[in-house]
Symmetry: C2
Subunit: 183 residues, 2 copies
DNA sequence: ATAGAATCGACAACATGGTTGACCAGTTCG
DNA sequence: CGAACTGGTCAACCATGTTGTCGATTCTAT
């Protein structure tokens, strides 16, 4: 994540003499941008989960959603805990604990892999599929609300802008929890 | 956070018959929007902390940054742990622990309040001020990079768009960590 | 003035979700 | 076949949150 940062630009802006931005930072302080992005993200996620709770899924948490996606990404055969861990960018042990939790909540189930006795395949239960299906519908509805407020073009402009400025691998990495944590 | 969600829109979009969005959701799946917002946020935060580490602050974490802001928001006299907790939207106990951490890292210090023997004022150390100053400069530089890539107008459009779609109180709430956690 | 209510900080117990390290059981490969 | 890798699990630990309790202090209202 460090690789794309150009330290020269930092010095250029810290030193008011030579500035990279065509617009003075004082005009729009840079610290607002991450706050707005996070507020937007959190607004969507909070509303998603409020609505999921209303639709019969009061116990699913944002972290679970990411994990469910990672399990579903393993295909119909299921995924192993190690797979999930790799997909989420966490250790296999942490992934195992999260899967335990999802199994306890009846969103996933474990089965032995007939082809490899080491592996335990994790699959979504119908309830797990249901929460993902509902999530997709709710996200579509929320996006529809934003489109109604902003206009479809402005919203598409936000999405396109973010797509161009975010490293593509980063865009769909599912590790939402770990980045705040330890070194 | 639930209050602003209009459940009718959800049903309208779930039911393909009556749709609120002028654009079919299938065109732009709604689930990408939160992912893009989060990816943008994380990109900025990751680069900020990579650069802070390079500039002599390798131990500060995103959560600490929010707490430092909350302390600084208390004004020059300092803030109490309970203040910080309220500002961050967490319990006073949790805020106290975070303050402990910042004190251990030499970013903050505690002092008795001469006017109220119950209170312990938390103030930033010069090191704490330094990390906030550098953070502001780095955020300005990062915003400058985005402005250079997108063009200033498109970036301003993203910011303005998010501002209109995000509930204003939500925009600058500093509680970044708790929303993922427990019920 | 004083009794009762509210607030602050601290301690304890616990949940969650992350980390390492170690280890065993299987599988794969030279 | 044996070495090396891989998957899952156990154990210890850390960071952050949560409740609940409590003593000390301050505020408030009679």
């Amino acid at each position: 994540m460090v690789d794309q940062f150009d330290a020269r630009n930092v010095n250029q802006v810290v030193d008011p003499g030579k500035r990279v931005s065509p617009e003075p930072p004082a005009d729009r302080p840079g610290f607002e941008l991450p706050l707005l992005l996070f507020a937007g993200f959190r607004t969507l996620i909070d509303r998603l989960h409020a609505e999921l709770a209303r639709q019969g899924h009061p116990d699913v948490r944002p972290a679970h959603g990411f994990a469910l996606q990672a399990i579903a990404a393993g295909g119909p055969g299921g995924a192993t805990a190690s797979d999930v861990g790799r997909r989420l960018g966490v250790s296999k042990q942490a992934a195992g604990k999260t899967v335990d939790r999802l199994v306890a909540l009846a969103y996933a189930e474990r089965a032995d892999d007939p082809a490899d006795a080491r592996r335990k395949l994790v699959r979504l239960t119908p309830r797990g599929v249901d929460v993902l299906t509902r999530s997709a519908a709710i996200f579509d509805a929320l996006r529809g609300q934003w489109a109604a407020t902003l206009g479809p073009e402005r919203l598409a402009g936000i999405e396109d802008g973010l797509r161009t400025v975010v490293p593509p691998e980063t865009a769909f990495r599912l590790d939402a929890t770990s980045w705040l944590g330890a070194p």
